[in-house]
């Protein structure tokens, strides 16, 4: 048998390695959506979002009910909590949370191509958006084929940019947009 120079027990080592390595990253694919209808609005920095997640709607705007209650603990649980809450706010065909490279972190019925395209789009758009509104995070709604809309939100997590996508036939008004953006920031901010 060969001498073991590193004094490492290979079995114990491989267990630790499996616990500390990153998940493989998918490459983003080009976008598949057709037309584009872009809107953006002021956003709250992470600290402010915590205080403001019950926004006051203007007359005729959607009330967020129930109000978002961030969950503490594991990221995966926090993501699930956000998705569950979004599903209560509007009828959704797909909901997804992804990292900048389009790696899906949590979802309901998301199409991987749409997620990858969204992350790709959002990271490009975020650069433009930064000039237009340096204080805010980007959010957009765009038309997919049919009457479906893709609502996209940029999130600033401690580990990098994230995207939240919601596919729905329902357009979002200012208040609901703000509630969702705040809920996203509340979910991904540091504890």
């Amino acid at each position: 048998m060969k001498p073991n120079l590193s004094w490492i027990d290979p079995d114990a080592f491989s267990i630790v390695l499996s616990e500390v390595s990153t998940d493989p990253e998918p490459s983003p694919t080009p976008p598949t959506f057709s037309t584009l209808d872009i809107g953006f609005w002021p956003e709250n920095r992470p600290g402010e979002a915590a205080r403001q997640h019950e926004a006051v709607p203007a007359a005729g705007e959607t009330q967020c009910r129930p109000a978002f209650v961030p969950r503490k603990g594991k990221l995966q649980d926090r993501f699930e909590n956000l998705i569950e809450w979004i599903l209560l706010q509007l009828p959704c065909e797909q909901v997804f949370l992804a990292d900048r490279e389009g790696l899906i972190l949590a979802h309901r019925a998301a199409e991987p191509e749409l997620v990858a395209a969204s992350s790709w789009f959002l990271s490009s758009w975020a650069k433009v958006h930064k000039y237009l509104n340096p204080e805010g995070l980007a959010a957009h709604s765009m038309q997919l084929h049919g009457d479906r809309l893709l609502h996209l939100f940029q999130g600033a997590a401690p580990w990098g940019q994230m995207s939240l996508g919601v596919v729905s036939e329902k357009p979002l008004d200012r208040n609901l947009t703000k509630c969702i953006q705040d809920a996203l920031q509340n979910t991904i901010k540091e504890e």
Binding site: K2, P3, N4, L5, S6, W7, I8, P10, A12, F13, S14, V16, L17, S18, E19, V20, S21, T22, D23, P24, E25, P26, S27, P28, T29, P30, P46, G73, K74, L75, D99, R100, E101, L103, W120, A126, K127, K130, A156, P158, W159, G160, Q161, E190, E191
Partner: protein
């Protein structure tokens, strides 16, 4: 944005050397790269000639005295910028380090850089130093550097245990590779240990490229330049960092989209 921390348990294994040369290669291959000197000793500054060592940098940003955009230095390589360590008085060191360990100061700094770079390469101080912990709490990837000698490799499990503890506390930092540095091809003890480490790593963590121990590194630091800029025609060893960059890019999601990366015909 990807935040890649270049780290090791043991000191002097080549973290700064790897961080500097890898950042050059990533930038030359097209990634908007910011090299951050998060070692309080300011080793990147010590490795480069020019106005870097007296520059304001990380220390001033973290103290709230400067904004990162103001302190970032442009370099000769278009896509590469450097955030120097900045000025830290001896008296500040201890207080400073413990203030950084919880990671929130680095978190705020990194968030502010979110849209300007595709990758941050962060050179860290070795071991469980507080500033390194602060960086690791905000990084999403770690490149672990080991020297091809027994002591460095024996410290590997200790580092991985620390990483595991961070992950269990919900910090999304993950190992993307282990780079074996200073391999001495003519010394069987050096090649044997390099081989032993590589054999223990799963394919997604092993790097096919290893870095030999070579006097060119001494020459580059004597001149105060990264290896790739030592000569007009890059030295073969500088090209090894292009290979390391190419191996790491897909692991960090830096690969181009299929469309951007399509083959181009040689002839029209």
């Amino acid at each position: 944005m990807r935040i890649l921390a270049v780290a090791s348990q043991k000191g002097g294994v080549g973290k700064t050397t790897v961080a500097l040369n890898l950042a050059c290669s990533l930038a030359r291959r097209g990634a908007e790269t910011l090299l951050v000197d998060a070692d309080p000793q300011g080793s990147i500054g010590l490795s480069l000639v020019g106005r870097i060592s007296s520059s304001r940098g990380l220390a001033e940003c973290l103290r709230g005295e400067a904004r990162a955009e103001e302190t970032v230095l442009k370099t000769r390589i278009a896509c590469l910028k450097i955030l120097p360590a900045g000025n830290l008085s001896e008296a500040d060191h201890e207080m400073w380090a413990s203030a950084l360990a919880d990671g929130s100061a680095f978190g705020r700094l990194f968030r502010g850089l979110l849209n300007d770079y595709s990758i941050l390469v962060v050179d860290t101080a070795s071991g469980l130093c507080a500033s390194t912990l602060g960086v690791l709490k905000n990084a999403n990837a770690v490149l672990l550097v080991v020297q091809a000698e027994p002591l460095s490799t024996r410290s590997l499990p200790q580092f991985l245990d620390m990483l595991r503890a961070l992950r269990r506390n919900n910090h999304p930092v993950g190992l993307v590779g282990v780079l074996v540095n200073m391999v001495q091809a003519k010394l069987s003890d050096s090649t044997a240990i390099a081989q032993e480490i590589l054999n223990m790593l799963p394919p997604q963590l092993a790097l096919a490229t290893t870095i030999p121990r070579d006097p060119m590194f001494l020459r580059a630091s004597a001149k105060g330049v990264p290896l790739g800029l030592l000569y007009r025609k890059p030295h073969p060893i500088a090209l090894l960092f292009d290979q390391v960059a190419a191996e790491l890019e897909p692991r960090m999601g830096l690969s181009k989209t299929e469309e951007e990366n399509e083959a181009e015909p040689l002839l029209d």
